[in-house]
C-alpha cells in the first residue's frame, strides 16, 4: 500500500481513555462504489444532482419506517456514557468516533430539517444543513462504525449507533454514494451466490478436495455434500469457510460433527453464503433479498432443519431477522411463512447455530472427544459482537456466551478467559465488522483492534494463551491480518469447530 506505513498504536499501560485527537481519522476515505456496482443492486450510479433534497426526503421516509431511528435521534441527552466505549475511538482518539458524536453527524441534520428547535434556533441545538462537507463526514465516519452495538449496552436509553449508521448508509445509497467494498460483495452474492464469488463448480471441487484431505488425515470418509435433495440439514455458512484459513478448519469440523452424529446434511450452491451485507447498508430490501436465497434453497432441497455456520452478523441476521424476512422460524400464521414452517421440523430451533447443534449432541452423549488432542493449545474465547449483543443461542438469555465456551471446555483442557469488561456483552469488536474488512481501511482496522489486542496480550503474558477461538468469519479474517501488527502470529486465531475438529472421535457411532 502507498502512503505512510501503518503501525499499531502502543498498548496503554492502564486502559485510560485517550485524549481527543480531532480529525486524526479525517484522512480515512473509503472507496466510493462505481456506477456499475451501485446500479447492479438498484441504487443510483453516482451522486444525483439534487442529492440534498433526496437525502432529506429519504431521512423523512426512514423516520416513518423505523421507530429506532426516530426515538434515538430525539432521545440523546449528551450524557457521555458512550463516549469511551467504541473500539475505534479508543484506537484512534478521533472525537467523531465517539458514538454520540457519530450519531450527532446525523442528529444535527435531523434537527435542522425535522424539529422546530433546529429550524428556529439551529446554533442553539447544534443543527446543521445537509452540505457536501456533511456528506463527506458521513461517508468517512459512518464507514468507521462496525455496527457492533457495544455503545448501546451502556446507553441509558439503549440508543444503538448501529441503527443510526445503517440509516445513514441507506440515505447515502439513496443519493448514489455507496461504499465500494460492500456494494461489490452484494452484487456478487446476487450474481454468483456468495460474497467471495465462488461459482458452483468451483465449490464442488473445493468440497471434493476437502473430503480427500479429511480422508487422508483421519482415514474416514467424511462427506461435504452439495445440493443434496432431501438431506435433513441445510448448512448455510460464510463462504470464507470454503477456502480461507483458518475458516476452512471449522468447516471440516462441522462435517465431522454431522458425520459422527449420523445426521444427513447438505450445503447449497444457491445459498452458499450465510453473510448478509444487506444489514450493513441498512437496506431492508437487500437484507430480505439476500435472505430469501436461503428460504428458496430450503424449499427446493426439502430440508427439515436449517443450521448456520460460524459467522457473527450472519447469525444475528439468521437468529433475529430470518423469521421476519423469510419465515425461517416458527409461530407464523400467514401463508408465506407457513409454507416453509410446515416443512421444517418443529422439534428443533429454526434456524439453529452450529454451536447449538454441537452442544446438544454433546449433552446427549452422541459425540466423543479426545481432549488431549488439543493439549498443545492454550485457549481463550473472543465473543463476536453480533453474536454477543444481537442474538442468542439456547434456551435462556446469555446462552450465546455459555454454549461456545461449553463446547471448548468439552473438547480441550486448557482454557482462560480474557479480562472482565472485554468479553460477553461488553466484548470488543475485532475491528473489521460492519463491512469494513477492506484493505483501504487497514489503518482503521489495526487501530480498532487495540482494545481486543490488549486483552489478548494479558492472557498471553499470564497464561501463555496461543489460540483465540471465535465464531465469526470476519473476526477470523480481521485477526489473521491484524495480529502481526501487534507482534502475534496470525495462526493465533481460529474457530471453535476447529477445536472440535481436532478432538472429535469419528466412527464410534457407526
Amino acid at each position: 500500500m502507498a502512503g505512510p506505513e501503518i503501525k499499531a498504536p502502543a498498548y496503554r499501560e492502564f486502559p485510560t481513555v485517550p485524549a481527543l485527537q480531532p480529525d486524526s481519522m479525517v484522512g480515512m476515505n473509503p472507496y466510493v462504489a462505481n456506477e456499475k456496482m451501485n446500479e447492479a443492486i438498484g441504487f443510483p450510479g453516482k451522486l444525483v444532482d439534487n442529492w440534498e433534497q433526496v437525502a432529506i426526503a429519504k431521512m423523512g421516509e426512514l423516520l416513518t419506517k423505523y421507530r429506532s431511528l426516530k426515538v434515538y435521534l430525539d432521545s440523546c441527552v449528551h450524557c457521555g456514557s458512550c463516549t469511551d466505549k467504541c473500539h475505534y475511538f479508543i484506537g484512534t482518539g478521533d472525537p467523531k468516533n465517539m458514538p454520540v458524536a457519530r450519531q450527532d453527524l446525523m442528529r444535527n441534520v435531523y434537527r435542522r430539517y425535522f424539529t422546530p428547535a433546529g429550524k428556529m434556533f439551529p446554533k442553539l441545538v447544534g443543527a446543521q444543513d445537509m452540505t457536501k462537507d456533511v456528506l463527506d463526514d458521513w461517508f468517512r465516519y459512518y464507514n468507521q462504525c462496525s455496527e457492533c452495538r457495544r455503545c448501546s449496552v451502556f446507553c441509558p436509553y439503549g440508543i444503538d449507533t448501529a441503527e443510526i449508521t445503517m440509516a445513514a448508509k441507506e440515505i447515502m445509497h439513496a443519493v448514489g454514494h455507496g461504499h465500494k467494498y460492500v456494494n461489490e460483495i452484494i452484487g456478487k452474492v446476487h450474481k454468483i451466490g456468495n460474497n467471495l464469488g465462488l461459482p458452483g463448480p468451483a465449490l464442488e471441487d473445493t468440497l471434493n478436495g476437502l473430503e480427500e484431505d479429511v480422508k487422508e488425515d483421519t482415514g474416514i470418509d467424511v462427506k461435504y455434500p452439495l445440493d443434496v435433495q432431501g438431506a435433513e440439514v441445510l448448512l448455510v455458512t460464510p463462504s470464507a469457510d470454503f477456502f480461507a484459513e483458518p475458516h476452512i478448519e471449522s468447516l471440516i469440523g462441522y462435517g465431522k460433527v454431522f458425520h459422527a452424529a449420523g445426521i444427513s446434511w447438505t450445503l447449497s450452491s444457491k445459498a452458499s453464503e450465510a453473510g448478509n451485507f444487506g444489514m450493513f447498508i441498512g437496506s431492508y430490501d437487500q437484507l430480505k433479498k439476500i435472505a430469501m436465497r436461503v428460504r428458496e434453497a430450503a424449499l427446493e432441497l426439502g430440508v427439515k432443519r436449517i443450521v448456520v455456520g460460524e459467522c457473527g452478523h450472519a447469525w444475528r441476521v439468521a437468529y433475529s431477522f430470518w423469521n421476519t424476512l423469510t419465515g425461517i422460524g416458527a409461530g407464523a400464521n400467514d401463508p408465506f411463512a407457513i409454507e416453509l414452517q410446515k416443512q421444517l421440523d418443529p422439534n428443533y430451533k429454526q434456524p439453529a447455530h452450529i454451536c447449538e447443534v454441537t452442544w446438544d449432541l454433546i449433552q446427549a452423549g452422541r459425540l466423543k472427544f479426545d481432549k488431549e488432542a488439543n493439549d498443545h493449545r492454550i485457549i481463550t474465547f473472543h465473543d463476536s459482537c453480533n453474536v454477543a449483543r444481537g442474538s442468542r443461542m439456547g434456551d435462556y438469555a446469555g446462552g450465546q456466551f455459555d454454549i461456545p465456551r461449553n463446547i471448548i471446555k468439552s473438547v480441550a483442557n486448557k482454557y482462560h478467559e480474557m479480562g472482565v469488561g472485554t468479553t460477553h456483552e461488553k466484548t470488543f469488536c475485532c475491528g473489521g465488522g460492519g463491512g469494513l474488512l477492506t484493505d483501504e481501511l487497514i489503518d482503521l482496522r489495526v487501530k480498532g483492534a487495540l482494545p481486543r489486542m490488549e486483552a489478548l496480550k494479558q492472557v498471553v503474558d499470564q497464561h501463555g494463551v496461543n489460540f483465540m477461538a471465535t465464531i465469526c468469519a470476519i473476526c477470523k479474517a480481521q485477526f489473521t491480518k491484524v495480529l502481526p501488527y501487534y507482534g502475534f502470529k496470525m495462526g493465533l486465531v481460529g474457530g471453535v469447530h476447529q477445536l472440535v475438529s481436532s478432538a472429535i472421535q469419528l466412527g464410534n457411532e457407526q
Binding site: R67, V71, H78, L124, G158, S320, T324, G331, Q350, A388
Partner: protein
C-alpha cells in the same frame, strides 16, 4: 403579574401536554420492523417489564457505563422525582397522606437535585470528551434546572414567600378561578423557569423520558425464532 403567570401556565401546560402527547403518539405509530433488543435480553414480557423497571428506576445501563454520570444523574433524577412529589401539596386540598409523609425527604431531595445538576454541569466543562459533545442547549438546560432548584431552595431557607397564597393561586388555576400570586422575585424566577421547562420539554432532548419506553433495544422481547414479527409496511412487500 398574576395574570401573566396565569396565562403563562395555561400556555405552558397546553404545550407540554399537547406536545408530549403528540410525540408519544408519533413514537407509538412508528413501527419497529426488526427485532433488535440489545442481548442478552429477556425472553418474556414480564422479563422486559423488569428490565424496563431497572432502566427507569435504577439507570442500569448508565451504571454499567460510567459511575460518575450515574451517581450524579441518579441523584438529580431521584431528587427531582421526590421534589415533584413534594410539590403535589400545592395542587391538592386536602393534601394526600403520602405527600404529607414525604415532605421532609423532599427537602433533602432538593439538595441532591441541585448537587447532581452542579456535578453534571461541571463535567461539561471539566471532561474533555463531554465538553466536545456539549451544545449550547445542553448548558442552558442545566442552567434552567439548576435555577429552578436554587430558587426553590432559596424560598425554603432564605427568602420565604407566602406559600399559602401560592397554593391558592394554583388551586384556582385548576378551576379557572384566578387568585393573586404573591409578589416575590424568587417565586417569579422559579415559576418562569418551570414554565419554560414545560414548554421546551416536547421539543428538546427532554424527550428521553418517553423515548426510553419506546426504545426497541430495551423494550423488545428476545423471541424472534418463536414468534414472527412483521411490520405493516414490511408485510406489504410480501404481497408483491
Amino acid at each position: 403579574m398574576t395574570l401573566f403567570f396565569a396565562i403563562l401556565f395555561y400556555v405552558a401546560t397546553a404545550l407540554f401536554v399537547g406536545g408530549l402527547a403528540y410525540k408519544i403518539y408519533d413514537f407509538a405509530r412508528t413501527p419497529a420492523p426488526l427485532k433488535i433488543p440489545t442481548t442478552p435480553a429477556p425472553t418474556s414480557t414480564p422479563g422486559v417489564a423488569f428490565r424496563m423497571f431497572r432502566e427507569v428506576a435504577l439507570f442500569e445501563s448508565l451504571f454499567k457505563g460510567n459511575l460518575w454520570i450515574w451517581a450524579l444523574g441518579w441523584a438529580f433524577h431521584m431528587g427531582l422525582f421526590l421534589v415533584l412529589a413534594r410539590h403535589l401539596r400545592y395542587f391538592t386540598e386536602p393534601v394526600w397522606t403520602w405527600v404529607a409523609l414525604i415532605q421532609p425527604f423532599g427537602i433533602y431531595a432538593g439538595f441532591a437535585m441541585a448537587a447532581g445538576l452542579a456535578g453534571l454541569w461541571a463535567r461539561r466543562f471539566l471532561v474533555e470528551r463531554i465538553r466536545y459533545i456539549s451544545t449550547p442547549s445542553d448548558h442552558l438546560m442545566l442552567a434552567l434546572l439548576l435555577l429552578i432548584a436554587l430558587t426553590g431552595l432559596g424560598m425554603k431557607f432564605l427568602m420565604h414567600t407566602d406559600i399559602v397564597a401560592v397554593k391558592a393561586f394554583f388551586l384556582g388555576l385548576m378551576v379557572f378561578d384566578i387568585q393573586p400570586l404573591p409578589a416575590h422575585p424568587g417565586l417569579y424566577i422559579h415559576l418562569l423557569c418551570v414554565a419554560l421547562l414545560m414548554i421546551v420539554f416536547p421539543f428538546s432532548k427532554l424527550l428521553h423520558a418517553p423515548g426510553l419506553f419506546f426504545s426497541p433495544t430495551r423494550n423488545q422481547t428476545d423471541n424472534p425464532r418463536e414468534a414472527r414479527h412483521v411490520a405493516p409496511w414490511a408485510a406489504q412487500l410480501e404481497k408483491n
